[in-house]
């Protein structure tokens, strides 16, 4: 089986030859092409080459997820972004587009084609598709509308704005979503097989289920439809604690969810598999920080525990629950891949 066939079986909730694997290798890829973080995250050729080089180095990887950083989308509204040498880019927190609650009115639908960072991401997808389309699934990572809005404000103030003027936040969220709709359409047209939505706020780490439904469920439903209309699949990524599988499945109907902690209505991963395993494919859930702390044996055990809990019957991809640390070594990613190939073999 090649990666595409393996992931197709995974998405069909069938057992493939083995558990598919993807330790969310993104920013770390820059090391393989000798690029700094700023270059890797702004130059499409370098970024795409980083992903392709990673595939060369680890040919058993089963997909590519283009998580560049969480400030790609906010660039479209002119947010000033800082590009540290060895860290992911982030908004300039001292100079945010939405400085005050009245500033939400400034957030209107914009033309994504004027955003260098969005266009760069589309170019990355196009370059990856030119090389691996049909062999390795290409998953474009996109921050959801409320997340994008939080990068234009800042999370803390936005949370309080949700109390002080929820309608202003909601209206701005819709304008962001309309922009993202055109953007993800372009990502799909460029060759992405799926869009992985980061729905950071649909989690007990942050806001109530009712608040998420009120603020982001409808825009996400609209965006998910856009993706399906372009012949692509929706996936969800959320590394918060107690994430809301139920309302996200209802709104987005994703084919897979990438997560770190069991959802709010499940005590553990095994219960998650029992409750949601027939509704959505599961991706996760190894703690990425463990790539830089603890022993190899502890890392290995977490990988095998995940396989034990969620792999039987198919519909499970072994992965880190969030991005693999960008400044770690590749050693533990390599171990995870080996574990998927050996311990994760369905046909032993």
């Amino acid at each position: 089986m090649n990666a595409f066939e393996r992931v197709s079986a995974f998405l069909s909730h069938k057992e493939a030859d083995r558990v598919p694997v993807y330790p969310i290798l993104c920013g770390i890829n820059r090391k393989l092409v000798g690029a700094s973080y700023p270059v890797w995250s702004t130059d499409a050729e370098t970024c795409a080459n980083g992903f392709l080089k990673t595939l060369e180095e680890f040919p058993d990887l089963d997909c590519l997820v283009t998580l560049i950083d969480l400030s790609v989308e906010c660039d479209a509204w002119g947010q000033k972004i800082i590009f540290p040498e060895n860290e992911a880019a982030h908004p300039d927190y001292d100079n945010q587009v939405v400085q005050d609650i009245e500033d939400y009115a400034k957030i209107q639908k914009v033309d994504y084609r004027n955003s260098k960072r969005m266009m760069m991401h589309i170019d990355v997808i196009r370059r990856l598709a030119a090389k691996v389309k049909g062999k390795v699934p290409i998953v474009a990572f996109v921050f959801g509308p409320l997340g994008t809005l939080s990068m234009l404000r800042n999370q803390q103030d936005m949370y309080m704005d949700l109390y002080d003027d929820p309608d202003a936040v909601k209206e701005a969220t819709w304008h962001v979503a309309e922009t993202l709709s055109d953007y993800v359409g372009a990502l799909c047209d460029a060759g992405a097989d799926a869009i992985m939505w980061d729905t950071l706020f649909a989690s007990g780490s942050i806001m109530s289920k009712a608040m998420w439904k009120d603020m982001e469920a409808e825009p996400m439903a609209m965006l998910a439809k856009t993706v399906r209309d372009h012949g692509c699949m929706n996936m969800v990524h959320n590394c918060g604690q107690k994430i809301y599988f139920d309302v996200q499945i209802e709104a987005i109907d994703p084919v897979a969810i990438s997560f770190l902690f069991p959802p709010d209505d499940c005590a553990d991963y095994a219960e998650c598999k029992r409750k949601y395993g027939d509704k959505v494919a599961l991706i996760g859930c190894v703690t990425p920080a463990n790539a830089v702390i603890g022993t190899d044996e502890e890392w290995d055990k977490q990988c095998t525990d995940q396989i034990d809990a969620m792999a039987p019957g198919g519909g499970f991809m072994l992965a880190t629950g969030c991005e693999y640390p960008a400044n770690a070594t590749f050693d533990r990613a390599r171990r995870m891949i080996e574990i998927a190939k050996t311990y994760g073999a369905y046909q032993k």
């Binding site: 949370y159 309080m160 806001m207 709010d264 990425p288 920080a289 830089v292 702390i293």
Partner: protein, 210 residues
């Protein structure tokens, strides 16, 4: 007046109402420490417990803390005049190289809600800043926050800096943040890790009373 009303308004995040009720209580001659304990701290205790139990979430904690601060600003000079001292002194910051502050701010709010005096060092805080502040301000506790796996290692630098400065036996060090675990806390020789802001405040009170 019924100080429970202050607690209820605080829990609802009604900052203006809390300020007005605190002023009313002051005007009625209620001692400041009583308004603080039975109104503001009581309200934040309820919020902290509900936060821990996933009954309220980050936005609710933030608006409650904002309401607390509005009320506390009126009480501060009166508490000083009454000679009321904080139950402990803490310095808190996000470690070197990390600019994320919402987790740190939540912990700070919860600490203040427990009646602790908190020195907020902000983000991207160098180990020597933690140590100098703890020594010069006589803090019993240093709280270090990190959101990134790339910056959590700086917490170990704070522990080492405390040893180098010869104050490790005088100050406790707590660590927290999304990538931080109990195992990591032990590995670097910190004193405590807590998974959420409400528990952090409870543990901080215990550590400050030792």
């Amino acid at each position: 007046m019924d100080l429970h009303q202050i607690s209820l308004k605080l829990q609802a995040g009604k900052a203006k109402d809390v300020k007005a009720l605190v002023q009313q209580a002051i005007d009625e001659g209620v001692p400041a420490h009583e308004i603080l304990e039975k109104g503001l701290v009581a309200g934040m205790n309820v919020i902290g417990e509900k936060f821990k139990n996933n009954e309220v979430f980050v936005p609710e904690v933030l608006v409650a803390a904002r309401a607390m601060n509005m009320g506390a600003s009126l009480l501060k000079p009166l508490l000083a005049a009454e000679g009321v001292k904080a139950t402990g002194k803490v310095c808190i910051g996000t470690v070197k190289g990390d600019l994320h502050d919402i987790g740190k701010n939540l912990v700070k709010m919860m600490l203040e809600g427990k009646g602790l005096e908190v020195i907020d060092l902000g983000t991207d805080v160098a180990p020597e800043t933690f140590i100098n502040t703890a020594r010069d301000e006589h803090c019993q506790l240093i709280c270090c926050s990190a959101l990134l796996t790339t910056t959590m290692g700086a917490m170990a630098d704070v522990v080492e800096a405390a040893k180098d400065a010869g104050i490790r036996d005088q100050v406790k060090i707590m660590v927290g943040g999304a990538p931080v675990t109990e195992a990591f806390c032990k590995q670097i020789g910190a004193d405590a890790y807590t998974p959420d802001a409400a528990t952090a405040a409870e543990v901080a009170v215990q550590l400050c009373s030792k």
